[in-house]
């Protein structure tokens, strides 16, 4: 018998709520259909009536977690249209901020995924460590979430000598913690049971479906904008693109934990080699006619902005493609064939923040009987299932 299960969409905490219609046979997902748009805010339409300076703030509010990545991507596109060359120091500060955001995002993700597995201690640990990096972002920018750091022509605040010591102290702590999480995630039997071999995305499918970011890198594809098209100061900083070949949720976890370690190294290098000088140049309000495409490796993958200017102070068109949209098709592929109990952890695997979706309704296809589940029910079901089966 085939069941149809609508999963999602609403949850106020998500920046990209998604509705999945699952077709379930026994306990296996056989088909997935996707529906977006529940918080479509029409940012691209709003942009037509705002000037370039106002849009810096709007770009930051596209996403709450990778806000800096969007602001950076937007600023770079406008700078290209203006033909502005930004100071070297600003490039380094941008790189540091982008990597701090990556660390922050990956700790957040680790915590959420642990929670989906019912491993609440790890969730608390990861989020406690995330506070350390958020405190550093707060110290530099004065804000915890929307940093307001990137602007057209550079950055708005400098990183001073006194900050560097504190940042290094936090980095040492976070590095030790990342080592600890590597140990837990490779040894803990309940984590291994829940993640190894779950939510497979073969490299062939990842390529065909144009997966980006850690999702692609966990399928062995070394796809990273930072090396393919170095922006900010990435061209001057040595780093490794982390890839794993497991193609499952476990690999996605290892990729992200290793990326935290890599980001820490990048920040250390950037702090040490940061040139002296000014942090921004003055930018004109009118932007000459033209088109610019800017790409940035956001914590979740490739972020691309396209701006067409008509010579006024407002863009003719501003197109944004955030990494989650690129990864949704891959997610559908991963989900077909998985067990009902694995849905939350597989969805969490691509880092879309939709795994805590509000409602789930079980519709019996033959009798039309409707059982409405909320996210908690699915979570309880999933953890009960594993407990009964494996005694975890």
């Amino acid at each position: 018998m085939t069941f149809k299960i609508p999963f999602g969409p609403q949850h106020p905490a998500l920046e990209e709520p998604v509705n999945f219609m699952f077709e379930i046979e026994e306990e296996r997902v056989v088909n997935v259909k996707l529906r977006l748009g529940y918080v479509h805010r029409g940012i691209e339409k709003i942009a037509e009536s705002r000037n370039y300076r106002q849009l810096v703030y709007l770009s930051e509010r596209i996403c709450g977690i990778c806000s800096f990545a969007h602001a950076l991507c937007y600023s770079q596109a406008v700078e290209e249209l203006l033909g502005l060359e930004i100071p070297e120091r600003a490039k380094f500060i941008r790189t540091i901020l982008a990597e701090m955001e990556r660390i922050q995002n990956h700790y957040l993700w680790l915590g959420l995924t642990a929670k989906e597995m019912g491993f609440e201690t790890l969730f608390m640990y990861a989020w406690r460590d995330r506070e350390r990096i958020i405190d550093m972002l707060d110290m530099i920018s004065g804000k915890r979430v929307h940093y307001g750091m990137s602007t057209i022509g550079g950055v708005r605040r400098d990183i001073t000598e006194s900050m560097i010591g504190k940042i290094e102290e936090s980095l040492n702590h976070l590095e030790a913690r990342a080592e600890y999480y590597t140990k837990i995630c490779t040894e803990d039997p309940s984590i291994l049971k829940r993640t190894v071999g779950v939510g497979i995305l073969r490299p062939r499918d990842a390529r065909a479906l144009c997966a980006v970011g850690p999702t692609a890198r966990a399928s062995g594809i070394a796809r990273d904008v930072r090396t393919d098209e170095p922006y900010a100061a990435y061209g001057e900083i040595p780093f490794r693109v982390v890839t794993y070949r497991g193609c499952d949720v476990a690999s996605r976890m290892y990729v992200r934990i290793d990326e935290i370690k890599e980001s820490i190294k990048i920040i250390r290098y950037a702090l040490k080699n940061m040139p002296e000088g000014s942090i921004r140049v003055k930018a004109p309000t009118r932007v000459p006619e033209g088109e610019a495409i800017s790409r940035v490796e956001a914590p979740r993958g490739e972020n691309i902005h396209f701006i067409k200017s008509n010579g006024s102070d407002r863009p003719e068109r501003w197109k944004i493609r955030a990494p989650t949209l690129a990864n949704l098709l891959s997610l559908c592929k991963m989900l077909s064939g998985v067990n009902l109990a694995d849905i939350p952890v597989v969805i969490a695997g691509i880092d879309p923040c939709i795994s805590c979706a509000e409602r789930i309704a079980l519709v019996d296809a033959e009798t039309g009987k409707l059982n409405v589940w909320d996210g908690k029910d699915l979570w309880r079901y999933a953890n009960e299932w594993y407990r009964k089966r494996y005694g975890l």
Binding site: R35, L36, G37, K45, C210, I293, E302, I304, R321, L329
Partner: protein, 151 residues
């Protein structure tokens, strides 16, 4: 990647290939050549993925730009389709990852993609009135609002 390589592979006139800057190429093509060009383009060395598809309202036309990513460049293939009959061939058979981008443009610009098996609404609600394409310039926020029965 060099301009001559693209020209050789795509077999199109050199003036239709615009080098915007280092790593940025724009290729202007006719609507009928779209699939042939994309098919040849993704066979090139260093092809990674389709980054996204952008649509623009240029007045009488809808301009659709396919951003194809390579490890050493980003090639943007630009094609025009008239606003009265906005139909393009779908490229999902060549790049399955294009499915959502095509659906998005179908929603917001009303471009039909022949051959895409699922063009059901992706972003717009089920009760969205027909013929309202929110990102076309004519549909100002006020017009959309009055069509939807707002003030």
């Amino acid at each position: 990647m060099r301009r001559s390589e693209i020209r050789k592979q795509l077999r199109i006139r050199a003036r239709n290939i615009i080098v915007q800057r280092d790593r940025r190429f724009f290729v202007n093509i006719e609507k009928k050549d779209l699939k042939r060009v994309i098919r040849r383009l993704i066979r090139m060395k260093n092809y990674t993925h389709l980054s996204t598809i952008t649509a623009l309202d240029t007045g009488s036309n809808i301009e659709v730009i396919y951003h194809v990513a390579f490890t050493d460049a980003l090639v943007s293939v630009r094609v025009q389709t008239s606003k009265d009959d906005p139909v393009l061939l779908s490229i999902v058979d060549l790049i399955p990852g294009a499915a959502l981008y095509e659906r998005e443009i179908h929603d917001l610009f009303g471009v039909e993609f022949e051959g895409n098996p699922d063009l059901s609404p992706l972003l717009l609600p089920d009760n969205w009135p027909e013929g309202v394409y929110p990102l076309r310039k004519w549909w100002s926020p006020d017009r959309i609002l009055s069509k939807l029965g707002g003030k």
